[in-house]
């Protein structure tokens, strides 16, 4: 059984918003999972791991880290950014490696994503969380300014 609540930190600096505000129906309707999103500060930035664990999947525009207890968190850098085919994203960590919460994973520029006509909003998703349990995510930041590494939400 799950041991402790999992603290999930903001992977980027910007403004924390509700998932329902993400301009993509699949994310906005919690279909990928519950979570929160960050409208990132524009300009070059570094994306950090939201939890300590193994970087099980690393793509230029998205990655998944599984914590010690097996729970996975997805960070998606912008919407439809898979179509950029990695352009503008620099990987700073290796798939399969251990990453502490707050460790650099990817360098990118949300302003460039926006200039390409895409939303740079970053959903941060609790994968396989029970979507019906309202209490799954507690302590979601008072939506507003966050810095990378600040607590974003707690996964009960």
């Amino acid at each position: 059984m799950r041991s402790r609540p999992l603290a999930v930190v903001a992977p980027v600096s910007g403004r924390a918003i509700a998932l329902s505000e993400v301009p993509d129906a699949v994310f906005a309707q919690n279909m990928v999972g519950p979570g929160a999103a960050i409208d990132p500060d524009r300009g070059p930035g570094v994306v950090v791991s939201p939890v300590s664990g193994i970087l099980v999947k690393l793509k230029p525009h998205a990655f998944v880290v599984t914590a010690e207890d097996g729970r996975g968190v997805l960070v998606h850098l912008g919407i439809d950014t898979v179509n950029l085919d990695g352009g503008g994203f620099v990987l700073l960590a290796e798939e399969g490696s251990m990453v502490p919460a707050g460790a650099p994973v990817i360098r990118w520029n949300p302003a460039a994503v926006e200039a390409a006509g895409l939303s740079p909003v970053c959903p941060v998703i609790a994968l396989d969380a029970d979507r019906t349990a309202a209490e799954v995510l507690t302590g979601t930041v008072s939506l507003g300014a966050v810095s990378a590494g600040d607590r974003l939400f707690t996964w009960a």
């Binding site: 994310f27 990928v32 998205a62 396989d128």
Partner: protein
Amino acid sequence: MQRTVTVASRVGLHARPAAVFVKAASAASLPVTIAKEGKEPVNARSILAVLGLDVRGGEDVVLEADGDGAEGILDKLADLLTEDLEG
């Protein structure tokens, strides 16, 4: 019972198409697994597991379910994968 399907979505089973697929698999009355050909099957109801497969567009996957209604379930899931879920 198994079904081999070619994933149509150009970008493969990444976040959004994977979510649509996992939701359908979760709604099915039987457990379903998905595997890349020749690889270990994973639970099709787990988005973490499905994202972990890292299926690319144009790749084949093997769906498996057993029991009453397996054929209908596999048909439905196979149809989903052969649509371009990015659409």
